[in-house]
């Protein structure tokens, strides 16, 4: 019953502007699409907006046109959350990612609705939401396993115990895929946070609705504020700041624009940022998920400690 009710009401949102004719009973409450910084939903500090439209030019929502200052605030939030998130038990991170999948499953109808508003067909939208849920489950499972696959105990020739483990790079800025507005978003966020990083993400510019609604999913999944921060706005305006910032450790870019790629590589030298391009990844296939995506934002730490020489001290086995 409840689901049906949601569906019904959301359907009338999709016909925004003609509610009067249809609903004489009550006025539809429209959602304000805001950004997500440090676990809160502020509007952009700039007070600016842009109108998200579908392919037919129909207005979908007034969306925050985030500024450089919003991005800086988000980086502060992400840096503040990094110690706690990376220090959490990997098992616990897995639980939270799993919780995100649960929340997404529960709000499936809303996402299908938003995707269809943004020019997807119903069948495609449903498939995309299902894949996004499954992708979260996939990475939830990796949270406490990829370390085992990519670690090593190194047989050094001296009398030392030596091991290498992956650790998160730090704060990652992400320009989300422009087309798969939900699946792409989930596919780039999940491996980054599964590995213990925190991130600031710029949503698809033309299809921002799902990103904001996904922030609500994150916000109700016991995810600490600041681990994921989501902005909406223009790639052309914000991309340089995403890669300029001295407290960002890595930047992910998912489009094939070679001039943006070159700009990013040049600016990355400012603080030896790690630059990761996902320009030919098909997110709706099996190739869109892998523990190697997690490893893209990991560092390898090697630790040494001396071993008392057992043979030398005369003890036998």
């Amino acid at each position: 019953m409840e689901k049906r009710a949601i569906k019904k009401s959301s359907l009338s949102i999709s016909e925004n502007g003609i509610e009067e004719k249809k609903s004489t009973r009550r006025l539809e409450v429209l959602k304000t699409y805001k950004i997500y910084i440090g676990g809160q939903f502020p509007r952009t500090e700039s007070g600016r907006y842009y109108v998200a439209k579908n392919a037919d030019g129909k207005q979908l929502a007034n969306v925050c046109l985030s500024s450089r200052k919003d991005f800086r605030d988000a980086v502060v939030a992400a840096r503040g959350a990094f110690g706690g998130w990376s220090g959490r038990a990997a098992f616990n991170r897995g639980q939270i990612l799993y919780r995100m999948a649960e929340m997404l499953e529960g709000r499936k109808a809303q996402f299908i609705e938003e995707l269809t508003q943004q020019d997807s067909t119903k069948g495609k939208a449903e498939k995309e939401v299902n894949l996004a849920i499954d992708r979260l489950i996939y990475y939830a499972g990796w949270c406490d396993k990829f370390q085992q696959v990519f670690s090593a105990v190194n047989p050094v020739a001296t009398s030392h115990f030596n091991f290498s483990v992956p650790e998160p790079t730090g704060v990652v800025s992400i320009i989300a895929p422009q087309n798969d507005s939900l699946l792409g978003l989930v596919s780039v966020i999940a491996p980054v946070i599964a590995g213990g990083n925190t991130c600031v993400l710029l949503a698809s510019e033309s299809k921002p609705l799902c990103a904001v609604t996904f922030a609500e999913v994150i916000n109700s999944s016991d995810m600490p504020g600041g681990v994921v921060n989501i902005l909406t706005g223009k790639v052309s305006e914000l991309a340089p700041w995403f890669v300029d910032h001295m407290d960002v450790n890595a930047t992910i870019y998912c489009e094939n624009d070679s001039s943006v790629q070159k700009m990013m590589q040049e600016k990355s030298a400012l603080n030896v940022k790690r630059i990761i391009f996902y320009n030919s990844v098909k997110w709706d296939t099996e190739k869109g998920q892998s523990p190697y995506f997690i490893m893209d934002t990991q560092e390898i730490k090697t630790t040494w400690h001396p071993i008392e020489n057992i043979a030398g001290s005369g003890a036998g086995y």
Binding site: N154, P155, N162, S164, N249, Q265, S268, K301, T302, P306
Partner: protein
């Protein structure tokens, strides 16, 4: 109480060893006759020695006496182009197609030949770079040989290294290495590149080209197919020609963060893969419960190993306040007993500074340290009249914000700071744009793991320092670069993962 009072003398926990008079070591110089250095070296391109097309040569000198050792070719863009073409041909026609187990055998052979000529290589390394023969003999050369040996074995086992992926070679690798561990860095670069099926154009540093050229002789002798490894000598312009060459697929650089950033900018807009092994300012942390004498030895090794010309040198010492006086006194006593002098003498602890330019950099920082208000202490040892020398030096009362605590000096200069709590020292240690290495000294296991986990650096030494092994990955966090060298993780920078 009265009895003890009667007997009491001024308490001093450190027993000073007096080396100044009758305890002087007799000189034990290694003989130069075991090494052959030609008066002139050309470029090693396509398996043969080729004259530089510009006809120019530059001198390489012994920094311990400023005497010329040899002159080496200065490669220009045309020479680099020749080397890249040779490497490309070798890659497409020979190396890429060769069965991996055959590739492995060539690399094993090079490892063996480095071992065979170890003594000669060690002597030349010390002559050309100024490092003590004890270090080049016992560390640089054997570790270089072991590195070839280790990666040789990986060549036909790559399918086990990357689960669920196939590792394909990248193509031609351009490699630029520094002057602090000339042969070892060449091995670190060449061995994994060859094992993964790539071919190489390598440029040694302009002040220390000789062991790389000796390695070229070994490579020639080993019968490695021509063009698989090319070695071109020159300065920054030669390096830039490599970095900017359009037919190079991969750049591997070890050197300063400054140059690393230039390289990162230069390759923007290309598809070149890159690994950067850059500077560092390692925090070495002593807790009050540490075995202090061992810790002091570790700190000495951490900063004065190889004259402090080590990117992972423990150049920032954090001592817990309760033991700081004791540790500083022990350090001062210990640097007094370090033997500074002839790199070829087997007793020498600290050799010559690699170049005049580097000596000036170190002096500049010593001056800055004094001006910033820190207290300087240096060994009272005498220095040879000719050559480039620097006494082992330490600064106390250093502020966290001081330039000598923030910037890489790359010399035998230690900055000492103090702390009270774990959280405080973590905050201070991580307060650096660098993140290459770190050290911690304590007797408590749980504290070790707390510290090693929270320090943001690629290599952490607990109750030891400056240890290296071919099986052990090495590389930085943050502005100390990215990519790993050594171990299983050192393969990744030289492969493309395909399905």
């Amino acid at each position: 109480m009265a009895v003890t009072k009667k007997k009491s003398v001024k308490k001093n926990n450190t027993i000073k060893l007096k080396f100044d008079t009758s305890w002087l070591y007799a000189p034990a110089p290694e003989s130069k006759s075991a090494a052959t250095i030609k008066p002139q070296y050309d470029l090693f391109i396509n398996g043969e020695w080729q004259k530089p097309s510009g006809g120019k040569y530059f001198d390489t000198i012994n920094p311990a006496n400023e005497e010329k050792l040899s002159e080496v070719a200065d490669a220009n863009e045309a020479d680099v182009n020749k080397a890249v073409t040779a490497a490309r041909n070798a890659y497409e026609k020979v190396w890429k197609k060769m069965p991996a187990k055959e590739r492995a055998k060539y690399i094993f052979r090079i490892a063996r030949m480095v071992q065979e000529r170890a003594r000669e290589l060690a002597i030349i390394e010390s002559l050309d770079g100024g490092k003590p023969i004890r270090e080049s003999r016992d560390f640089d050369v054997p570790t270089a040989a072991n590195h070839f040996f280790y990666y040789a074995g990986w060549a036909d086992k790559l399918e086990y290294a990357f689960p669920n992926r196939t590792a394909a070679s990248v193509g031609v690798a351009g490699q630029i290495i520094p002057w602090n561990f000339p042969l070892l860095m060449a091995a670190w670069k060449i061995a994994p590149a060859l094992a993964t099926g790539n071919t190489v154009v390598l440029k040694p540093a302009e002040t220390t080209p000789l062991t790389a050229l000796k390695l070229a002789e070994i490579i020639q002798e080993s019968g490695l197919p021509e063009g698989v490894v090319n070695i071109v000598t020159g300065a920054g312009a030669t390096g830039a020609a490599i970095v900017n060459h359009p037919d190079i697929n991969k750049i591997a650089f070890t050197g300063s963060t400054e140059v690393g950033k230039i390289i990162q900018r230069s390759i923007a807009g290309t598809n070149k893969k890159v690994t950067l092994e850059l500077g560092g300012k390692a925090a070495n942390i002593i807790f009050e419960d540490a075995p202090l004498d061992q810790a002091v030895e570790g700190v000495i090794n951490g900063i004065y190993f190889n004259q402090g010309h080590v990117c992972c040198a423990g150049s920032r010492l954090y001592v817990q306040e309760s033991v700081s006086k004791q540790v500083i006194r022990k350090l001062k006593d210990r640097i007094e007993s370090l033997i500074v002098g002839d790199p070829l003498d087997k007793n020498t602890d600290i050799g010559a500074i690699n170049s005049k330019q580097q000596l000036e950099t170190i002096r500049k920082y010593v001056k800055i340290g004094k001006e910033e208000g820190a207290e300087m202490y240096e060994s009272s040892c005498s220095l040879p009249g000719r050559g480039f020398w620097c006494r082992p030096t330490l600064f106390t009362n250093v502020a966290q914000s001081a330039r000598i605590a923030q910037e890489e000096i790359f010399g035998p200069v230690l900055a000492i700071l103090t702390f009270r709590t774990d959280d405080e020292v973590i905050e201070k240690a991580n307060n650096s744009p660098y993140g290459l290495s770190a050290g911690v000294w304590t007797d408590k296991g749980s504290k070790i793991f707390n510290m090693t986990k929270r320090m943001r650096a690629g290599v952490i030494w607990a109750n030891t320092f400056n240890k290296f092994d071919p099986t052990s990955p090495f590389g930085g966090y943050k502005e100390s670069g990215f990519g790993r060298e050594g171990g299983l993780h050192g393969l990744l920078p030289y492969v493309k993962l395909i399905n």
